[in-house]
Symmetry: C3
Subunit: 208 residues, 3 copies
Amino acid sequence: MKFSFRPTEGAFYELFTRAAQNLVKGTELLNELALPGVEVQSVSERLTEVEHDSDQITHELYKKINSTFITPFDREDIYRLGSLLDDVMDHLEAVGNLLYLYGLTKLPSLPREMHELVNVLDQQAKLTAEAMPRLKSMKDLEDYWIECNRLENDGDQAYRMLLVRLFSGEYDALTVLKMKEVADELEAACDAFEHVANTVETIAVKES
Amino acid sequence: MKFSFRPTEGAFYELFTRAAQNLVKGTELLNELALPGVEVQSVSERLTEVEHDSDQITHELYKKINSTFITPFDREDIYRLGSLLDDVMDHLEAVGNLLYLYGLTKLPSLPREMHELVNVLDQQAKLTAEAMPRLKSMKDLEDYWIECNRLENDGDQAYRMLLVRLFSGEYDALTVLKMKEVADELEAACDAFEHVANTVETIAVKES
Amino acid sequence: MKFSFRPTEGAFYELFTRAAQNLVKGTELLNELALPGVEVQSVSERLTEVEHDSDQITHELYKKINSTFITPFDREDIYRLGSLLDDVMDHLEAVGNLLYLYGLTKLPSLPREMHELVNVLDQQAKLTAEAMPRLKSMKDLEDYWIECNRLENDGDQAYRMLLVRLFSGEYDALTVLKMKEVADELEAACDAFEHVANTVETIAVKES
């Protein structure tokens, strides 16, 4: 009898890839917020749908872990990576949801630094989606995590300048508080992408 | 010579159970805050006592880990679970302490959404206390972690609506800032219960 | 043929020690902020330099992990400890940077509780720098982590009293928001030192 672990292994990489591709959908929706005359409610609702898809993928991944005897790498690491990818989506969804809930859409436009942060997230999402299939060979991953960390530094810088802008006196205190909540979720998403990259690095270090 | 590991093993489950039962005491104290004419200082002081009990239990657990040769599951996981249960209590204690320190008790009443969050915490505490003894058999734990995560979603929703309320213009900026600190601790407690549940899930996945 | 792992092992302890000594440089720079007539821009710039040194040390550590066959303790733990030491520095650097960016230096003086927090950080940094070389023998580390955790409690207390002060009505809402950002970074640095101590404890528990 021939015994193959390949089909099962493949499923893990596919689930990670799908999870990351879903994050790209999320950041592309956030990018729409920069368009003139955008309907924030519609963006928020579509983000919620994309977030549900992520939950579904994470759920499939966990079931796969539980039903697989030999996993391609540590069970716990698979678990952690799945959960961290899911965390990113939670923050992306929160951004759309808070903008809508707080009625921030009545502002003529969002601060430029917010769009810069969204742009960083979009790049991180694309890099992550491209890197996930390479988990199979564990090759050519170093560029991904270095670049993802570099982008997180850019995001950090944009976040700091966003706060300087928010605290400049341009907005009233309540608007500042609302926008700060949104800014915090954007920054948390940026961080969460870095956590994904760090976990990939840890896995690669272990397997090497 | 008969050699038994049982008594020692039992001690771990008992310590986890006591830690979680102590969290129930904590959330019940927070529930008192909804009662008319409650003395917040007294609630805060009793929360501090309960928090000291938690520290004591965590300390006993760590000593037990250090003095036990064969632990019922990974030393590190026992350590982490104990430390996460302790984290929940720190947040519960902070809620009472901040309400008292900031003099928020002079408000006619706290926002309804705050009580909803306390209610979620109370349910999470009770579920956790019921689940801890089941660590022994590692059976029937799935319902616990699924429900605990579901409750965390409810808590998240209540937290978001609480912020909408706080930012609505009903309160002055400094009161908003104070209540937001309390809200953040409530939400962090909710999250911390989820981390406990996730750790139980990770342990169960490993042991399965 | 005599085969020795010593030289390589030594390099790890030396890198941890250098990382922690760099944190002492960071907290000493923050201490300068209490001096009359201090130039915040200069302090902020020197903190950024010290932070770059930390990045360099962390980078060397990661390279060392990757190029070493047998590490003195778990690869992952070395990784985590290095990354946590780096986290502390990120928060220290943020404190100086935010004070400068927000122009908080135009205030006659910073609240006393802020200096108390810096003082706690300075003690934690010194304790950590003294403890790192003891990782080699894994002896006499308990006092370090107990004291580091105790200091974190002091820091927590100082942080709470700082918020009470900020919310007292002494400052306008925007100044409160700016100082709260600085306060949060100070508190996060305090927490980050505790995470370092907890990781040392976890390593010691495993090795014992």
